[in-house]
């Protein structure tokens, strides 16, 4: 038995679900999707999954805390619009980036307050902020793409470092930070307690609300960060480009084994879930299945994952 099974987040008993899905889909597409296994395509899967991972990591913590963030995609869109507008106005990239992070975390804080303090059910609270963020993004841009953001950001995005694209490095680093945060800090332990036994936090004299809010702030912050990559990839800011990304993220988290009950979360599972979703989309794409059916198939994947849970429980 590894010395620190829990602390590391690796618990052999919990690997199955998502690993089977991943291996199964990988084999299926290797056989039936011509060109799926090629190196450029796999790099492509990685790059496509990068932004999703960045949104899915904080979503894992949010779901562990018995919550949900339906506003993640819209906030990412708004942050991207902010970033691009700032760049168009001639702001230097770091300043524009900070603005995007500020917009994201403000929305995160609002979500957190609505859920933790005002006691609004998370799916309704974040549905509301989704509307607000989407409305602001569309209104600020009149629904059009923001072009003319200069070449610094697209160049950064297109750059490769030690053989891997910038986005992949960004995702890997973010993962590392979240892994340390969840498994190596006090805050991480309290996130487990938020969904697992809130009373334990109160009895320990810690109070629960501030950690609950912080979890949502992280969600917003990372949406701001994701906006940097998305804007770089598209060389423009588009207000609705990220709409629906929250669904992919929630799907990845659930497929990865994190549940709404008892603070049952698993960060490596989320990473595997993101890759699973990425492979599913990419493989279907290679097989020339329309992108809309890809969306439907992710919905089926989520419900199948929960169905398997429900069957196991009944046994």
């Amino acid at each position: 038995m590894p010395e620190s099974a829990v602390a590391q987040g690796w618990s052999p008993r919990r690997i199955p679900g998502v690993a089977y899905a991943l291996v199964g889909l990988g084999m299926f597409f290797s056989i039936f999707a011509r060109g799926f296994l090629s190196a450029p395509n796999l790099v492509n899967v990685g790059a496509q999954s990068a932004i999703l991972l960045i949104v899915a990591l904080p979503m894992t913590l949010i779901i562990m805390a018995e919550g949900l963030d339906l506003s993640a995609g819209a906030v990412l869109g708004l942050s991207g619009v902010t970033l691009s507008l700032a760049l168009v106005q001639g702001a230097p990239l770091p300043v524009a980036f900070l603005l995007a992070l500020a917009v994201g975390s403000t929305f995160g804080a609002i979500n957190g307050l609505l859920v933790a303090v005002a006691d609004i059910p998370p799916f309704v609270a974040t549905l509301g902020t989704m509307g607000v963020a989407e409305g602001l993004a569309v209104a600020l841009t009149d629904g059009r793409s923001v072009v003319g953001i200069g070449s610094t950001l697209p160049a950064l995005y297109a750059g490769k470092f030690i053989g891997a694209p910038f986005a992949v490095w960004a995702a890997v680093l973010t993962y590392a930070v979240f892994h340390v945060l969840l498994y190596r800090t006090r805050f991480g332990a309290y996130v487990f307690a938020l969904g697992g036994n809130r009373e334990a936090l109160v009895l320990a004299g810690l109070g629960a609300n501030r950690y609950h809010i912080l979890v949502y702030v992280l969600g917003g912050l990372l949406s701001g960060f994701g906006a940097l990559l998305l804007t770089g990839r598209m060389s423009a800011g588009h207000p609705t480009a990220a709409i629906g990304m929250e669904f992919d993220a929630i799907a990845a988290v659930i497929v990865g084994g994190t549940r709404f009950e008892r603070g049952n979360g698993w960060l490596p599972g989320t990473a595997l879930g993101v890759i699973t979703v990425g492979i599913l989309k990419n493989g279907l794409n290679v097989m020339a299945v329309s992108s809309s059916l890809q969306v439907a198939s992710i919905g089926v994947l989520v419900i199948a994952a929960l169905l398997v849970d429900s069957i196991r429980e009944r046994r």
């Binding site: 309704v124 989704m130 509307g131 989407e134 409305g135 009149d142 809309s292 919905g299 989520v302």
Partner: protein, 315 residues
């Protein structure tokens, strides 16, 4: 003892007053408002929102949620469009739209009762499945060129009043009779107020839940038909922007997210308030891009008031 004696004005009266106030404010600020053409338009618009929101209200009364209604409207409109186009039969088209909603509603109900999935996640997964299937089915096409007879379902007038308004009134009466004057309705309120107590009172909770999700799907399916007739053309994205305003209408109508209280009359008023606000914005030439922001803001305010009222009454 004191609360029972104090004179109590039903909240619905306040909502009616706010409708009147908004209408007066609009009439005062723009001449265009009181033109009968505009008022009929407001009613027509409100009736479409109401048709979808009425089914959703039943679900929310049980403390559930149906996030798939917008997607169902879209799929129903497109399938109906295809059926009417192919056969020219209007009854067949309506049947197809209804059937589409009923099937999805039953699936939602079974996920919530048999698989015990949280309603928001079951219907959220369903939202994306339906969305994907619809976009795939339409493949970017638009179906148009319907007979005037069919279009009159959405566009037509009888005795100077738009047909959808008659539908709204019919379903308001039917729905109110169902919720107030049948034992089913009373059981639905009982489930929403306390599902466990309802079960231990001998109410077949699962069957009733399947019923309300089915009705919600059916109403969305029917609304899809009317919506199609109103617009005169079907494309995949037709239902996408509808979820937020429909939830907003239910919540400002005073139906509690926590279940067990609310009414269809309230939802009608909610739909009217929302439509009036939007109409006013249009008349004052506010860009339609701001709509999601308004919907989102309305959802947040209404949900916040609802949560606060609940805290207040709990202690």
């Amino acid at each position: 003892m004191k609360s029972a004696r104090s004179f109590h004005i039903p909240p619905i009266v306040y909502r009616m007053i706010s409708v009147a106030l908004i209408a007066i404010a609009l009439a005062a600020s723009t001449d265009a408002f009181i033109r009968s053409e505009n008022i009929l338009n407001v009613l027509r618009q409100a009736s479409l929102t109401f048709l979808i929101a009425s089914g959703l209200t039943l679900v929310v009364l049980t403390a559930g949620l149906d996030l798939s209604v917008g997607a169902v409207v879209g799929l129903s409109a497109c399938l109906t469009g295809a059926a009417v186009k192919a056969t020219g039969s209007i009854p067949l088209g309506i049947a197809v739209g209804l059937a589409c909603g009923v099937v999805i509603g039953i699936a939602n109900g079974l996920m919530v009762t048999s698989l015990k999935l949280p309603p928001f996640i079951a219907t959220y997964g369903m939202l994306w499945i339906v969305y994907g299937i619809n976009y795939w089915y339409m493949a970017g096409d638009t179906i148009y060129g319907f007979s005037d007879e069919f279009k009159s379902i959405g566009n037509g007038y009888a005795l100077g009043v738009p047909i959808p308004v008659y539908l709204m009134i019919a379903f308001l009466i039917l729905g109110t009779l169902f919720t107030r004057n049948t034992t089913y309705g009373h059981e639905i309120y009982a489930i929403g107020a306390n599902a466990e107590a309802a079960r231990l009172s001998g109410i077949p909770v699962r069957a009733r839940l399947v019923l309300v999700y089915t009705l919600s799907g059916a109403m969305a399916g029917l609304a899809g038909v009317v919506y199609l007739a109103r617009l005169g053309s079907a494309e995949a994205g037709i239902g996408d922007p509808l979820l937020l305003p429909v939830i907003a209408a239910v919540l400002i109508g005073g139906t509690s997210l926590f279940g067990g209280s609310g009414s269809l009359c309230g939802t009608l008023i909610g739909a009217l308030i929302l439509t009036l606000v939007l109409n006013g914005m249009n008349l004052l030439t506010v860009n339609a891009h701001w709509h999601p922001l308004v919907y989102g803001g309305v959802v947040l305010i209404a949900a916040g008031l609802d949560a606060a009222a609940r805290k207040w009454s709990d202690g």
